[in-house]
């Protein structure tokens, strides 16, 4: 295993690699096709390079534990806006998630619908490409259109275009208060309609999920609002009025309980330790229930107003036929190595786009040594 502690060492390691590399941050997200290659750990590149709370900006080295980044931000009453998922519960993995891993997998949670994905908060990257060349793109300012945006290209490229060494993020203040509207007993269709109504309101919803089987076994629909206390109270009432015909609405404002509830959604805790493969599917929200019904799933969880479906299905089955004629994409997040080798983990692209993706990989990694085959 190679364990560089500086960007220069990382570049050297890649440049001198005789063959394929398996790139790892904290090793908590074994997602993608199994990769054969020498292990290259980025966990040694740690540290917060710069943090300016007044500019809502943090710059960190890629191997920095996510927990360390979040603790530093919390110290100033700030946070990463996109609510990154911790995959350890769902995948049964161990280790310490790194900020680089979060960016490489574009990990975004329930707040994605309001605050954007990881890629939307990521303002700049430094990386080492497959030649061992250090490249920077973007910077540490929110508005930057200087040259091509390779930052977004890197987010979600799972280390197949380059090994991330440093990242800069836009961060946001932690709001003073939170409230969650809870509605029990809705069908998937009713729930998604209610979530759509809430998301289409002026009340700035920051979480919109539906669990056909909630923590206590009954269907539960969750709508989150965040902000200053008076404002949250006002909007909670306004949403209750808006959704009055839908069902009985309870409002939870206890910070610990609401945090635990959304962690349950974010980390898909309900599927932990349960058998089957787990798929993550992104569709037009109103199509969510139809796709969900077509999946023959053993477990379902809807987030993003119905647009994100977590599905637990029988092992080894490709669920993508359920998306035909609907659009969107599906990623196989949890499955055995055999299944991940046999099924396309990432959504297969149509020929012209597949050619572009392959072309980009060939340009950034001409020797094909960076997590080769991981994304298909």
């Amino acid at each position: 295993m190679m364990n560089p502690v500086t960007e220069a060492e990382l570049a050297e390691a890649v440049a001198g690699a005789p063959g394929p590399l398996r790139i790892m941050g904290g090793g908590t997200r074994p997602i993608g096709r199994p990769v054969a290659g020498e292990l290259l750990s980025v966990a040694g590149l740690t540290g917060i390079e710069l943090y300016e709370p007044g500019a809502l900006t943090i710059v960190v080295k890629a191997g920095t534990p996510l927990a360390e980044v979040e603790a530093a931000l919390a110290g100033e009453g700030q946070r990463l806006p996109f609510e990154p998922m911790d995959h350890r519960v769902l995948l049964g993995s161990t280790g310490e998630p790194t900020i680089g891993g979060v960016a490489a997998a574009n990990v975004s949670g329930p707040r994605r619908i309001q605050a954007g994905a990881c890629r939307d908060s990521l303002m700049g990257v430094r990386l080492v490409d497959g030649r061992g060349t250090v490249i920077k793109n973007g910077g540490r300012v929110m508005k930057n259109v200087t040259g091509y945006d390779l930052v977004k290209l890197m987010a979600g490229s799972y280390g197949t275009l380059g090994v991330l060494s440093e990242l800069s993020f836009k961060v946001l203040p932690v709001p003073e208060a939170v409230a969650v509207l809870l509605i029990e007993g809705l069908s998937d269709e009713e729930a998604v309609r209610a979530l759509s109504a809430a998301l289409g309101s002026p009340f700035d919803v920051s979480g919109a999920a539906h669990a056909p089987v909630g923590v206590d076994g009954a269907p539960v629909t969750m709508i989150r609002i965040e902000g200053f206390a008076d404002s949250v109270a006002y909007r909670a009432e306004a949403l209750k009025t808006l959704l009055a015909g839908v069902g009985e609405i309870a409002v939870e404002t206890d910070p610990e309980k609401t945090a635990a509830g959304w962690r349950w959604v974010r980390d898909v805790e309900g599927f932990a330790g349960q058998p089957g493969d787990v798929w993550r599917i992104s569709v037009k929200p109103s199509e969510g229930p139809r796709v969900g019904a077509a999946l023959q799933a053993q477990g379902l969880l809807y987030d993003w107003g119905g647009g994100l479906i977590w599905a637990r299905v029988a092992e080894g089955r490709d669920i993508r036929p359920a998306l035909e004629g609907i659009g969107g994409h599906a990623t196989l997040i949890r499955a055995s190595e055999e299944t991940r080798a046999a099924l396309p983990v990432f959504q297969p692209e149509l020929a012209p786009l597949a050619a572009i993706s392959a072309g980009l990989r060939a340009q950034f990694d001409p020797r094909g040594i960076l997590n080769p085959g991981l994304m298909g």
Binding site: G54, N137, S157, S196, P202, G328, L353, L360, M375
Partner: protein
Amino acid sequence: MEMPTPNPDILARKARIVERLREVLPRDAVIDDVHETRAYECDALTAYRCPPLCAVLPASTQEVSDVLRICSEEGVPVVPRGSGTSLAGGALPTADSVILGVARLTEVLETDYENRFIRVQTGRTNLSVTGAVEEEDFFYAPDPSSQLACAIAGNIGMNSGGAHCLKYGVTTNNLLGVTMVLMDGTVVEIGGAHLDAGGLDLLGVICGSEGQLGVVTEATLRILRKPEGARPVLMGFDRNEVAGECVSDIIKAGVLPVAIEFMDRPVIRATEAFAHAGYPDCEALLIVEVEGSEAEIDEQLGLITQIARKHNPVELRESTNAEESAKIWLGRKSAFGAMGQINDYMCLDGTIPVSSLPYVLKRIGEMSEEYGLGVGNVFHAGDGNMHPLILFDANKPGDLELCERFGADILKLCVEVGGCLTGEHGVGVEKRDLMHAQFSPEDMEAQLRVKDVFDPQWLLNPAKVFPLDVTESRRVA
């Protein structure tokens, strides 16, 4: 600013190229008359002009595909053009290029309030996207100052911002999908009404690629429900530094205004003389706007004015109604026009870390004296996107060149303090030759390789974004 020498072989084949384009487009959609092509000789960067070989105005994705296929076969450069409002020369043609205008692609294709998106053809103007959803109280968030005229195609090309991006982000954060035509005529669909990419985030790299990777003909855009209301507070300070500190304190306090606008004394005086908005005569003025219900607005403005008071403002004026709000915004909205009344000016667009605001303003002041040219500052302070306006006399020989050198120095300063050359206008030809200040040769090579993949012939808007010496071997290959 140099442009490549037109390819004489292409100029010689003009008649044949025009004829081939006429085979796939209606007669009036191919403009080759030397008087009529004048209309396409420049965009809003009017200092540089060159009529194109011809201009085409396709009315469908299929027609765009046909045009690009023909140009690809003929080896003719294509310069895509939205509404021609680029301040960076993004749509500046060369004599051997075809201007591909999207002005006839203006349809709304789909409006979906339940899923909160609109699908439009990209020749549609920014403001008319909001116009199409306004009756349901929805809006499209990115709001560049040119929104009345600028096209979505150009917004996507330049990843346009606006005054409200502190809360809502820029174009790339509001773009869900595109239909794009590659230079060889291939039509691709990327993204859609769902969120995020299934594979590599190609949408992310297409947005802001200045028309160099493909021609986007249709776009799926996120629309949002309008907030219940919005109101600004105006505050004046006797020092720029203090205004800068106040901005930082507001952000740290956890308030997220939708806009924080900054104006310095030269701009305040010019706008006051022009628009009579009743601004105080002070060194620095901030306009901070928040959104929500009446009570929410009161709560946020209360907090903001409390913070402002700690910085001893010379004026603190909270709007209490629509009329007062309009008056507070009146000066800011007429700032560019007001500056234009007193002088010719060049508008810069660098971004800096908000923490460097006082230092950068001080340095710009010093440089202004060294160059002997006045500067006004009016910009989006919340996100550090500056718009210094350098005043010069276009009729005075050498003044434009002096102004450009001054502008280059300011942009280099932006990069030095950790910022960038352009926050929302794009590189185009205007900042093209400054790219070395921000990027190493390796940084730029990585970007050129992306274009190699999308446009291997290097025919799409080829002489933009990157310094000519950096792209020469690819362009002439």
